[in-house]
């Protein structure tokens, strides 16, 4: 039977309502299209337009359906942020240790007049790094121990906010650690002539900074999604 366009109109509205999560939207629209086409084809009414209309009516309002995906989308984003946090911290740790080994192998030390600054930067680096590790593990464990709520009610909202704040705090402390690493690297570079060996600490610092950049992007994307969902739920 010939399609009437009712289903594609409905899918457009559903896709628009799900615009807070593009990748989720694509998959859901495909699934719902398959559902509606099958439901319309299975309808014994005979009139295709009426069959499509009934299938759409049984499925429900696209905004209401999209709103039910909000908690799934935010939970997925929180999970992704938690996993990214753990991976980036592990990456920064490996890079940091590799750089220290490199300094030892090349016998590259900070000049005496900068030892005091280097000591303070080292302390800040160490404490902020390990604090970010503890908070990130706590955040990841917290996110994974929560059940995804069917609706985005006040209780679930609070849980997601806590997960978000923990991820943000861990990222901020990791950023402080990376900045301290940057200071230490600059002190090392200042203590010697620049040569090809200097590329190793510079590249390793770039990797650490990129890792923090990825986390900042992830947190920004989570914030934007939350704002977008809040706007959807208001309409």
């Amino acid at each position: 039977m010939q399609e009437t366009g009712l289903i594609s109109d409905y899918l457009d509205r559903l896709g628009d309502a799900l615009r807070f999560d593009r990748s989720l939207s694509r998959g859901v629209v495909w699934e719902v299209e398959d559902h509606l086409q099958e439901a319309a084809a299975a309808d014994a009414v005979g009139d295709r337009r009426e069959a499509e209309r009934c299938a759409i009516a049984r499925f429900g309002d696209p905004h209401a359906v999209a709103a039910q995906f909000a908690s799934v989308s935010l939970a997925r984003e929180a999970n992704r942020t938690g996993a990214a946090l753990i991976l980036v911290i592990a990456g920064v740790f490996v890079t940091m240790k590799s750089r220290v080994v490199w300094y030892a192998v090349t016998q590259w030390v900070v000049c005496d007049d900068m030892k005091a600054v280097s000591g303070i930067a080292g302390l800040v680096d160490r404490y902020s790094f390990w604090f970010s590790v503890v908070v990130a593990i706590g955040s990841f464990a917290y996110i994974n121990s929560r059940c995804v709520s069917p609706i985005l009610d006040a209780g679930y909202h609070r849980q997601l906010r806590l997960a978000f704040v923990l991820s943000l705090v861990a990222t901020m402390f990791l950023a402080v650690s990376v900045i301290s690493d940057g200071v230490l690297t600059a002190l090392h570079l200042r203590s010697t002539e620049l040569h090809a060996f200097a590329l190793v600490p510079i590249i390793s610092m770039a990797i650490e900074a990129a890792g923090v950049g990825v986390l900042a992007f992830q947190i920004r994307s989570m914030t934007r999604k939350a704002v977008s969902i809040a706007a959807l739920l208001k309409t």
Partner: protein, 114 residues
């Protein structure tokens, strides 16, 4: 059956519908209707967020296949964790149902208000 009552048990209902084997969303809804003797007439759009939520909780797994119609179709299946969760929920439900049954035993049946 009351919509709110159904929503409270939606996860168990969806898991139970998938206990017989992998299925796509439409087939899950049809299975719910069939197994419940048409008693559970959910708004169909509520089942898909539940499927995604259960997948997020690792109780279900999904894969995309191409249907005979040529359309993309997402097929869901219970994971081991999902099977365990269903068994646990079934046990809790049976306890609850037995308790309510005993409570209502002998209670006079009220007529529905007109």
């Amino acid at each position: 059956m009351e919509g709110e009552m159904l929503k409270g048990h939606l996860d168990m209902i969806v898991l139970a519908a998938l206990a017989t084997g992998p299925a796509h969303g439409y087939a899950v809804i049809e299975e719910i209707k069939r197994k419940s003797g048409q008693a559970f007439d959910l708004p169909e759009g509520t089942v898909y967020p539940a499927l995604h939520r259960l997948e997020q909780a690792n109780l279900l797994t999904s894969r995309w296949v191409t249907a005979e119609s040529g359309r993309q179709r997402r097929v869901y299946a219970l994971t081991r964790r999902g099977e365990r969760a269903l068994a646990e929920r079934r046990a809790v439900w049976e306890q609850f149902s037995d308790a309510i049954g005993r409570l209502l035993e002998g209670a006079p049946q009220c007529k529905k208000p007109a």
